[in-house]
């Protein structure tokens, strides 16, 4: 496969037997259209990952990190090596499959800042509809041109995006009925 011919090609990387092709965020839809024309007719998944605080977690163990020890996190260990820094806060991965013999899988990836929108690929693969809604709901990625970008799993009036790393995990405030 010649990944260089993809619109917005930045880099191709092989790791653990998988190919990751990084694409310029602005050209992700063109790259996806190109991929579909190349035979990647099957979109398996769209995943956003939040890298806020990546590599900076404190440790109580004997191995130091950038921020040193954190006694408030007992029973966690630090890293043996600091993980490689990421270019932006969010990565957005498109897992594609070409139904050929043998099957070819590739991960198209683009990087997003907070509140940076990305083009929707619903027009390329209709199945992207719910995948994009889910990532919008849980990660707060805005897909421009999505026909129906609403919350999917969380209630409509939910605030915040639960899978973000800065989302509080200590539970939700309890509202008592007499306070209404």
């Amino acid at each position: 496969m010649s990944w260089e011919s993809y619109p917005g090609y930045v880099a191709a990387n092989e790791a653990f037997g998988e190919t990751t092709v990084t694409i310029e965020t602005a050209q992700i839809r063109e790259a996806c259209e190109h991929a579909r024309a190349e035979g990647f007719t099957f979109l398996a998944d769209i995943v956003a990952t939040d890298y806020l605080g990546w590599g900076g977690k404190g440790v109580s163990g004997y191995i130091g990190t950038a921020t040193g020890r954190d006694l408030n996190h007992p029973s966690t260990q630090g890293y043996q090596a600091l993980p490689q820094l990421k270019p932006k806060r969010f990565s957005l991965s498109y897992h594609l499959l070409a139904m050929a013999q043998p099957p070819v899988r590739v991960r198209l990836q683009c990087w997003l800042d907070e509140d940076q929108p990305v083009a929707s690929v619903v027009s390329v693969w209709p199945t992207a509809d719910w995948h994009e809604r889910e990532q919008f709901d849980l990660m707060g990625i805005r897909f421009e041109g999505h026909p129906n970008l609403e919350r999917l799993l969380m209630p409509e009036d939910w605030e915040g995006h639960p899978l973000r790393k800065d989302y509080p995990i200590g539970g939700e405030p309890v509202r008592f009925s007499d306070a209404e």
Binding site: T41, A44, D45, R107, P147
Partner: protein
């Protein structure tokens, strides 16, 4: 079923059309691929009744809500609403050590639990670059196939029940019980076994398992014959399943369908054969494909797959019976718990045990997407590790989630009475849809 308020609030109708159908002849709704809109001329007649089906209804296999617009008995509009079972598995897993995480995937897809467990373990092993002993690979194959039969039995029993065939349900659950007993024998739990460890199996295969499993292998083909005798020439069953819920091959691929739904639409695609993981390269089996793309084809695919799975189980047993005494888990003390008896004699083992149980093992930095053919289709697991003892991000590609995207396409021009059969035939597990 409850009748919705008189004036349906569907403000989304005014939104601009941005999604063109990908090709001529597609049945995928054109505005939003997952929402069937009421045609404007029908809406003007004021005869459209909006009905709320679910979220609590016995035939939704969990909690699925369908907002259906009816013109008489005809379904003219549909919107599937999910999220009622969302429990935040993916978030929770970010806060558990790798080996504690293994219990979560099987609760996501609580019917195809063994395959769900497998896909996560495979992802971890991929990151660890861990070699799995042959015996563990064969046992994993066997258990995953048992699980596939189990899942298909639940599908068959419940979807037949929804169409009024109650005896089918009892027949299916009779064999399902045999399979659950086998699981109990192996892992001590009937479901959610947590029998797969990173590196192999949690324990050796118990004595007496092979003969018991052989009994199932002998029983299963006869049982499938019985199911077929019950419904194959049953006029009511045929009338209610043939020619409804149509999904063409192109639409199925465009909508990301996988597993039995895809194969019932005439696409010859099975990851077990085409991608080859575990021991599937070394066993013989056929992949049933039906071109009709209707509910009956999906039912046929499930039936045939049970027969094929039984064949695979038999071949796994043949191999496993020659592997007595071989290791069932990799010998990597930094990841795998040491043998229990060593804890009393070896300081090293005690330390390893303590470290793995309290802090967990570290998984090298990286991202992987592992994939298996679960009973419902392509089940994927995307995992990011930062090199620490907990996953940074876990995401499951749930086949049921994707299958529900096809409801609007399948239910086009169908009758309200067929809705149950069609949604049932997509074989969704809501736990997996909502995660």
């Amino acid at each position: 079923m409850t009748v919705a308020p008189e004036k349906p609030a569907r403000s989304m109708r005014d939104w601009p059309v941005v999604f063109p159908p990908p090709y001529a002849g597609s049945r995928i709704p054109s505005r939003v691929p997952t929402i069937l809109d009421v045609p404007a001329e029908l809406l003007a007649t004021d005869d459209i009744l909006q009905v709320n089906f679910g979220p609590n209804h016995p035939s939704t296999h969990g909690v699925l809500r369908l907002i259906v617009d009816l013109d008489g008995e005809q379904v003219v509009g549909l919107n599937a609403v999910i999220g009622y079972l969302h429990t935040g598995f993916e978030k929770t897993m970010e806060h558990k050590t790798w080996w504690k995480c293994i219990t979560y995937p099987e609760r996501i897809d609580y019917v195809g639990y063994q395959n769900a467990e497998l896909v996560f373990v495979l992802a971890v092993e991929k990151l660890l670059e861990l070699e799995v002993p042959e015996k563990a690979t064969w046992m994993r194959t066997l258990l995953c196939e048992l699980n596939r039969i189990h899942s298909h039995l639940v599908f068959l029993g419940t979807s037949a029940l929804e169409l009024g065939a109650i005896s089918m349900f009892w027949y299916c659950f009779r064999e399902r019980e045999m399979i659950l007993d086998l699981y109990e024998m192996v892992a001590g739990a009937r479901m959610h076994t947590r029998y797969f460890q990173a590196g192999g199996l949690a324990e050796d295969i118990p004595r007496g398992f092979y003969p018991e499993c052989r009994k199932l292998v002998e029983r299963m083909p006869k049982a499938v014959d019985e199911y077929e005798a019950l419904v194959n020439r049953n006029k009511i069953w045929l009338e209610r399943t043939q020619g409804i819920g149509l999904l063409s091959a192109d639409d199925a691929i465009a909508l990301g369908q996988s597993g039995p739904v895809l194969r019932a639409s005439g696409v010859d695609w099975d990851l077990r054969r085409d991608q080859g993981y575990l021991a599937y390269d070394e066993v013989e089996f056929d992949v049933p494909v039906y071109a009709e793309g209707d509910v009956y084809a999906r039912y046929r695919v499930h039936m045939e797959e049970m027969r094929e799975s039984t064949r695979i189980v038999a071949q796994c047993l043949d191999r496993l019976e020659q592997m007595d005494g071989e290791p069932w888990i990799a010998d990597d003390r930094k990841v795998v718990l040491p043998p229990r008896e060593e804890l009393h004699t070896s300081m090293e083992s005690l330390i390893h045990h303590f470290k793995i149980v309290t802090e967990g093992y570290r998984v090298p930095e990286g991202e992987v997407y592992s994939v298996v053919e679960s009973p419902r289709g392509e089940l994927g697991c995307y995992v990011v590790s930062d090199g620490g003892p907990k996953p940074w991000r876990v995401k499951f590609r749930a086949p049921s989630f994707v299958a529900l995207e096809a409801t609007a396409t399948c239910l086009r021009e169908s009758l309200i009475a067929d809705m149950i059969a069609i949604v049932g035939s997509l074989d969704t597990v809501m736990g997996e849809v909502d995660r």
